[in-house]
Amino acid sequence: MTTANVRLDVPKTAKRGEIIDIKTLVAHTMETGFRRTHLGAPIPRDIITTFVCLYNGIEVFRAELHPSVSANPFIQFSTVATESGTLDFKWSGDNGFSATETARIEVT
């Protein structure tokens, strides 16, 4: 488990049925595996491959990333605020990379 620097933008409160926008950012080099050092040695691939968002334990969004995604992957998506609870975010990738973050939302 790697500790990672994660930034989240999730509204703290929402009305029931409202569509909320979620923005996530995680610090990661996303090394493509196509680059070489100036001595010609290939730099091995090291990327985040999967991002999942769970809303009270139910998966609402998933992203599969490839080396074409920029360093420090930014992902924006939306979900319907159905009930108060927690949003769990999980990133996983090469070399056992794993990062998690949780946000609470109050739905009125």
Partner: protein, 161 residues
């Protein structure tokens, strides 16, 4: 001995450089090709959609037409869909024509997304076409493409050791 005139000297030097470059050119080209795997975007798309037709429309791919820095290109995709249980977007796939790999990213969503819109930031190795394909719950595929001009390419530059 007669000194060569400025003109003969420049002509001779030019010819010399041209011969060296011409001799080294196949090697340079070869190095480039070995480094970059072939991107087979049509194959990747065929693998996704199979024999189904991919129609134009319903999808809107938003990218800047001119990119200065290929390392960080904002990209967003929205799909015209009610996002109901019966009719929603299952996935949004993004493909590139000239990056080392054709696949860029896949976003899987469902009726709980509320609206079908995702945004991210991607790398562009070259001036090229980008295609967003939406996979709908009824099994149909819709797409939109955009052409980007990239001035500083990403992906293939070398790193200091």
């Amino acid at each position: 001995m007669k000194q060569p005139s400025r003109r003969t000297f420049i002509t001779a030097a030019g010819a010399c450089v041209a011969t060296t470059v011409a001799a080294a050119w196949p090697a340079l080209l070869h190095a480039q090709m070995v480094r970059t795997p072939l991107n087979n975007m049509p194959d990747a798309i065929r693998k996704l959609a199979g024999a189904k037709t991919i129609s134009k429309g319903r999808v809107k791919l938003d990218v800047p037409p001119l990119v200065e820095n290929g390392h960080l290109v904002p990209l967003s995709v929205s799909v015209d869909s009610p996002m109901s249980e019966a009719d929603h977007v299952k996935a949004i796939h993004i493909f590139t024509e000239r990056n080392p790999l054709p696949e860029m990213a896949t976003f899987r969503l469902g009726p709980r997304a509320g609206r079908a819109r995702v945004a991210t930031r991607v790398r562009m190795a070259d001036t090229q076409n980008v295609i967003a394909i939406a996979e709908l719950s009824d099994g149909s595929f819709w797409s939109d493409s955009a052409f980007l001009i990239v001035t500083l390419a990403a992906c293939l530059e070398e790193l200091p050791a």
